[in-house]
């Protein structure tokens, strides 16, 4: 396995990009701004007492959007770009299997995204702990770990999409299309599914499986997973996943963890299957 060399190369390449530093600065400003806003303005904490837990869920609600957009920007060219430009010929002249290339890319780009993200959030939470002074540090640590995992999942999705095509134009279209359909317009998609599955009419009550459909977007699954990992904090700050209205055994926040794990594995596996058979 030589993916370590690929990941190292990919990370050192990205570290020398100005946009990474701009991104880091942006993350830090965003995190500090959100922390400040949460601790200063009561309406942002939704009437509950300001706590670290409250700050965690407040940040978590926004991180989902930013991770999805930035991972598309950072990763859509990961494989397609190297193929289009011809650096893939240098990469694959060396003894890397195509699996090594994909794994190395996912690890390298996760480092590119997650390092500034975790630093920024960690900074915001540290200041939050000093200013607010209430709540457990453990919830902050769990939040950072889960957010790191979410970044890894999103990078894996976009690298998987990038591995499907040999031009950056197509890769960008896939990434943007994915964001629009699976994140931005998903409520509509879920609604259409419900409408069609019910014989082209609206049911009086949504069936149990509908909850799972609403959890398909990775950022929804991330939020539900956070609720599942920090149930007491979630209850205290009124963070809910909408699972309450359903009574199937799978209509629980934990489904978010399962769905995110599937997002980690499935797109990259499809990407690998296509890429491993492709002519460069």
């Amino acid at each position: 396995m030589t993916w370590v060399a690929v990941a190292k190369k990919d990370f050192s390449d990205a570290v020398q990009s100005r946009s990474l530093w701009a991104l880091s600065a942006f993350f830090i400003l965003l995190s500090l701004g959100l922390t400040y806003g949460y601790s200063e303005f009561e309406f942002l904490s939704a009437g509950t007492e300001t706590t670290i837990g409250g700050l965690v869920f407040f940040l978590g609600g926004i991180v989902g959007l930013f991770v999805s957009i930035t991972s598309i920007v950072i990763c859509y060219r990961a494989i397609a770009g190297e193929r289009e430009l011809g650096s893939a010929k240098i990469l694959l002249s060396l003894p890397h299997s195509r699996l090594d290339v994909l794994v190395g890319k996912v690890v390298g780009r996760t480092a590119v995204l997650a390092v500034p993200l975790i630093i920024a959030l960690g900074l915001g939470l540290s200041i939050g702990i000093i200013v607010i002074g209430a709540g457990s540090i453990l919830s902050a640590v769990i939040f950072l770990g889960w957010t790191f995992f979410f970044a890894l999942v999103y990078v894996s999705i976009i690298v998987g999409l990038s591995a499907l095509v040999s031009s950056t134009t197509k890769a960008a279209a896939l990434g943007i299309g994915f964001f629009f359909i699976v994140e931005f317009l998903w409520d509509g998609v879920a609604f259409v599914l419900l409408f069609v599955a019910n014989g082209f009419s609206l049911p009086t009550a949504a069936p149990d499986w509908y909850f799972v459909v609403t959890q398909v977007p990775p950022s929804n699954a991330y939020f539900s997973g956070l609720v599942a990992l920090l149930p007491d904090v979630a209850a205290a700050v009124n963070a809910s996943t909408g699972a309450a209205g359903f009574d199937a055994f799978y209509a629980v926040p934990e489904i978010g963890i399962v769905i995110l794990c599937l997002w980690l594995i499935v797109p990259i596996s499809i990407g690998y299957t296509v890429f491993s058979q492709a002519d460069l």
């Binding site: 690929v6 011809g86 002249s93 003894p95 890397h96 299997s97 058979q277």
Partner: protein, 321 residues
């Protein structure tokens, strides 16, 4: 020991045939020149050896490993200078070579390799700012990492000035002396003639010759050319020349007859033309160069209209890579 073995390899891109039933053997330790006009299928062949593309038919074995199923093993023992590559603009020369060393799980100092190819002074500059020649040297340095058993070099002198091309040949010789097999493609004949033990000539996706250069010369009947300028050249003069034993072809171009023939039949041709009433204004003769050999094997059989060498280079199906 066999370093490279191709058995009946074909590659089809849609309706375009890039390679047609190619059999090729490169022995371990030799310097093998892979010749052919642009678009002949040289890069496709190399792409198959490295598993960049998969053959439609046939199999390729490199250093005893199947090129498709055991590609990582192949590439761990092979240094490659590919064609149509692009370097990582933001990484320095040193970082590129270090990446190759890490990937090969080797331990050399990247600076030694950069020094060998003559760009040690640019080691810490970003490769995006390198000239074409420096980039070519950089990727050669990457290919040399880990003392590979086999070097595959696709058009290695691309972008190099004559001095750079000579240094490239020196490195190729040094690598061969170390015991490495060198397989390189080129459409420039002088380089091949200067250092190759054997050559293979590819044309239109088919291997049309595989031999030593002297063997190639001997195998072709035409090892000489005679150009005769006549006062009254016509088709009759062409026929008269072609009737002489030892003449393979005669082409009329204005007042000049260009005749491919064996060395021994030159005098007889001149005598025959004189006998038929053609008055000889001038004639020149020369040993056929590798260029002529190349042209002879890659060209369609000569017709009376005659092909120019440019035609021969442009005619084969260009395969978009």
């Amino acid at each position: 020991m066999v370093a490279i073995q191709l058995d009946g390899v074909s590659k089809q891109y849609g309706s375009i045939t890039a390679l047609r039933n190619v059999d090729l053997t490169v022995e371990s330790g030799e310097i093998f020149g892979f010749l052919g006009p642009n678009g002949a299928g040289k890069s496709t062949t190399i792409d198959i050896l490295l598993d960049f593309v998969r053959p439609t038919n046939g199999s390729a074995t490199v250093l005893g490993h199947d090129a498709q199923t055991e590609s990582v093993a192949v590439r761990s023992k092979t240094g490659v200078l590919p064609d149509g590559y692009h370097v990582y603009d933001r990484l320095s020369g040193r970082e590129h070579v270090q990446f190759a060393i890490d990937s090969k799980e080797s331990t050399e100092d990247p600076l030694d390799l950069l020094d060998r190819v003559g760009i040690a002074d640019a080691a810490d500059r970003n490769a995006g700012g390198y000239s074409k020649g420096m980039t070519q040297r950089l990727v050669l340095a990457m290919a040399l990492a880990g003392e590979p058993e086999l070097l595959i070099l696709d058009e290695p002198s691309t972008g190099l000035d004559p001095n750079g091309a000579r240094e490239m040949r020196k490195i190729i010789r040094e690598e061969a002396d170390r015991g490495a097999t060198v397989f390189f493609s080129s459409h420039i004949l002088e380089q091949v003639e200067a250092i190759c033990d054997r050559v293979g000539i590819l044309n239109n996706g088919e291997l049309v010759a595989e031999d030593t250069i002297s063997g190639l010369r001997a195998s072709l009947e035409t090892d000489s050319r005679l150009d005769v300028t006549l006062e009254n050249a016509d088709n009759g003069a062409v026929s008269a020349a072609e009737d002489v034993a030892g003449v393979t072809s005669a082409i009329q171009d204005g007042s000049m007859l260009s005749i491919a023939l064996t060395r021994e039949s030159k005098y007889e041709v001149l005598a025959a033309l004189d006998r038929e009433g053609y008055s000889i204004v001038d004639f020149t003769t020369d040993e056929s160069s590798l260029d002529d050999l190349f042209a002879a094997v890659t060209r369609e059989p000569r017709s009376a209209e005659g092909h120019t060498e440019e035609d021969a280079a442009a005619a084969p199906t260009e395969v978009e890579q």
